[in-house]
Amino acid sequence: MIRKLATRRETLLLGALLLLLAVIATRFPGFVAPSNLADVFNDTAPLILLAIGQMVVILTRCIDLSVAANLALTGMVVAMLNVAVPGLPVAVTLAVALGLGAALGMVNGLLVWKLDIPPIVVTLGTMTIFRGTIFVISGGDWVNSHEMGEGFKAFPRAELLGLPMLSWIAILALAVFSLVMTRTTLGRAFYAVGGNPHAATYTGIDVGRTQFWAFTLSGTLAGLTGYLWVSRYAVAYVDIAGGFELDVVAACVIGGISIMGGVGTVWGALLGALFLGVIKNALPVVNISPFWQLAISGSAIIIAVAVNARAGRDKGRIILKSAEHAT
């Protein structure tokens, strides 16, 4: 019962995703082969990771535009660290990426919480600051493949049970965040704060602090993705993942996460990201110009929002007894 209600939106999106795959399969059956789908999933893993974090932030009626810049800055820092200390264990690199990402997220969170600045302004500002910082620390230089250690580059590609580590990390994040969102008091607080901040205040939930934790989680995932991105593509420079924050927000919106806050699930974020990932990977193989990809992604966003808005539209006051439990 609870699953059915909570995932109705997600079921619809899953249907749309399967339909999309079916249409692609008619023109290029090889696309839906399990190995190719695994590749698509792996390719979409960074988007999934960031979308999960963004979902938490959007749930609390905020937005985090700094995720891609956070990713790029953290990626540059761990790449330069790897150059400076060649033998650094991957575990340490991961810890640095997670820690730095979290710290950058906390900066956003603190500005929103303590100074009460609108999140869109805060993260627009930090986005620019993070990018600028990359230029300052790197002097505008690239860190190239040959400068990076083998262990550093190998980690996201290392295979376990046939899947690369990058995919496993996305799966792990999905599992952990699904647990956090549905089974912890913090997860419940995210929904409460976004659903009705006034009511949340009266029940003893600190709205600002809850938003702070949302930004921290988003930043942590962005930092983690920063390392994975830089090591996978084996290059770090100022502009990596430029504009990627918009894909992330788009994935959330397509995934049924209400931009008004309070509504959304980890699975929605996953499906939204996969939807965009499938479009991005499928269009070239079915010979559709990449320019169409933008138009299709854009249409998907608008359709998703329209469908969600229709579903969520106020059906008026419930006065009729018979209408009370009909949904």
Binding site: T185, A192, G195, N196, G204
Partner: protein
Amino acid sequence: MLMQAGSDDNAQTLTGPVLSLDGITKTFPGVKALDEIRLDLHPGQVTALVGENGAGKSTVVKILTGIYQPDGGEIRVDGSARRFPSPQDAADAGITAIHQETVLFDELTVAENIFLGHAPRNRWGLIDWPRMRREAETILRGIGAQVDPDHPLRDLGIANKHLVAIARALSIDARVVIMDEPTAALSHKEIEELYELVETLKAQGKAILFISHKFDEIFRIADRYTVFRDGQFVGAGLIADVTEADLVKMMVGREVSQIFPKRSPSIGEEVLQVAGYAHPTEFADIGFRLNRGEILGFYGLVGAGRSEFMQALFGITKPSKGVTKIDGKIRVIRSPADAVANGIVYVPEDRGKQGAITALPIFQNVTLPSLARTSRRGFLQLAEEFKLAREYTRRLDLRAASLDTPVGNLSGGNQQKVVIAKWLATQPRVIILDEPTKGIDIGSKAAVHDFMAELAAQGLAVIMVSSEIPEILGMSDRVIVMREGRIAAEVQGDDLTPETLVRHAAGI
């Protein structure tokens, strides 16, 4: 109205009311805000509109200014029926209102504020700035305001903003000026200046509707009065013919017709003691004691600082000073979480906005403030949550297909039960109910009153903030009256009469 022929008719119009409301009715879902009321405004005279909070004064103002449409009755201007489908239509008929809280634009200049929407135009249809400035200056000088028309409004003090609002009202060549508690934010000297201004407007033949809770000013400047009570017309006449006592009696002198639950309060030991609560701008010197099983009423006019104090007590705003003792021990309450942990809960006035989280299911709403009990080290125990939610929804007789139903899919009455269940599940010691029956129908009111009596009987200490005198009198064991951010009186026993409460609340 009798129609008379020829010149007699003209004479009648000249001396008769410029504006009349006849049999105006306005209903909101579940509440009859106005029930066939009458109101006449005469040129060159000040009519005071008197009534308790909730008597329907603001609704009348909104109908006169075209914000609300009446469901029945007639508005007559100069004897002919008119309708005001929009605020612009009311302004065209020469009706203007100066509101309690001035509705002006801080970022625009004084002249722009005065002429917004009806600025003088030059021959190309563009705003004629020199003329606008000139005319603004003339109007401002006319009301004795020392304000530069080119100054941005945000730099002005509250009194000068008020003068700009009045200038705006005059700029549309109003025949009827509505002043809704115009002196609420003014100092003594500014009030005197306002009185002079009112005299000027009277001399210009404008009809003035003056809404005020302060009897001294009503008797100082009003020529006529009209009294409303519970949305009904009670009486009207010349101020010279009545005394303060007469007006108070008309305002409150009803039979207490509602039936309140019979209680035999068994008042126990002291639970809560509050001392020296103060806030820089909202309240000062608030102190009282509260016992188990007691219902303590907080009465006062709107804006007396009751809700503001309650929010400070609950930890939402920070008081500058004040001590809270629970069971005789000092407790520091810095946040709502502290308050809930110490057994104080607050059911706010605006339950729609501040009550339920409609996207979440019933059980999650009910357990939200009790998550500390239904979780282990930050992890939720769903079975515990359902148990708690089931227990309290059952106690409140909440009928829902499933506890998974989102609260948004419930009717208003059931949503309210969810909110109450949520608070009871925290097992509070003190429950603060802010306007618990505001805007709900008589039947639901009785249910809320019964429930409140039951809470007290179970040993809870109840604080009830209410602006309704019958409710305060019918439910409270003791009443604290607040006025202008301070405790004006603590009333109990035989002193609990409508007259005493109104007298303390209005400061007469």
